[in-house]
């Protein structure tokens, strides 16, 4: 039994139809840091696409969201993750009207000390849209800035996403 991992950098983020795309930010005094700036007061969304799901066995999909605060050093951020999967040559669903499976959310707290320290939020997606090896997969990531549990001021900068699942 092994864990399959796929990863996406912020620069691979695409807009989600009908939703607000966060600003793209490039910063860094030594290394270059590219990220998507998710607002504190509303919901913004990005989408990543995996044209071929490798080695899916069973179980939930773990979505790890790498993020840092732009200006805050305390508070919580509510992240949401949703999947949409299509099996080529099998599913008859129109790809352009395919819907997201129900979103799963997780709240991650700023750990303090340094404003722009890197955090990882873990969302355990249990609504898998019948994911299977070889699927075309879309992943939506949102910051739920208007959620009452999202208390962190300022932007949350998402630098990348890692997806994990079991191959057995």
């Amino acid at each position: 039994m092994a864990t399959t991992r796929v990863q996406f950098a912020a620069r691979q983020a695409a807009p989600v139809a009908g939703e607000t795309f966060p600003e793209f930010k490039q910063a860094g005094s030594t290394i270059t840091v590219q990220s998507c700036s998710f607002d504190a007061t509303g919901t913004e969304a990005v989408q990543f696409v995996l044209p071929y799901v490798p080695a899916y066995g069973s179980g939930n999909v773990t979505v790890k969201i790498l993020w840092y605060a732009d200006t805050a050093s305390s508070g919580d951020v509510v992240w949401g993750a949703s999947l949409a999967c299509l099996t080529p040559d099998t599913d008859t669903q129109d790809i352009e009207t395919d819907a997201w499976a129900t979103e799963t959310t997780a709240t991650d707290s700023h750990l303090g000390t340094t404003v722009q320290r890197l955090h990882v939020a873990t969302v355990t997606a249990s609504n898998l849209d019948s994911i299977t090896t070889g699927d075309y997969l879309a992943l939506r990531i949102r910051r739920k800035g208007a959620d009452g549990s999202d208390t962190m001021s300022g932007d949350a900068q998402m630098t990348g996403v890692v997806m994990e699942w079991s191959d057995t």
Binding site: T41, T71, A72, S73, S74, V115, D150, T151, S153
Partner: protein
């Protein structure tokens, strides 16, 4: 005058956070309370501010011009660009 509408207060709150004007240790709800309190204070003290302005400026200036004067003095006084 009346206090700002809730959407207008939310706009001020959002813009100031985007400009990094909220201290890092302060969470969103507490910063929003500060925005609301500032609006309330201005509403409560607007008549006193107007009375403090000398003539003929007080009678000639619009409310917008007086607001710009107040904002400019406050910003300059505490080291911000006008």
């Amino acid at each position: 005058m009346t206090v700002l509408s809730d959407p207008d207060r939310a706009t001020v709150w959002r813009i100031l956070m985007e400009r990094a004007e909220c201290p890092g240790t302060v969470v969103k709800a507490d910063f929003r309370a500060a925005v609301n309190a500032t609006d309330d204070w201005i509403e409560a003290n607007s008549a006193a501010f107007n009375s403090a302005l000398p003539q003929p400026y007080r009678g000639a200036a619009s409310t917008g011009q007086k607001a710009a004067l107040l904002a400019a003095i406050a910003l300059k006084k505490y080291g911000r660009d006008i």
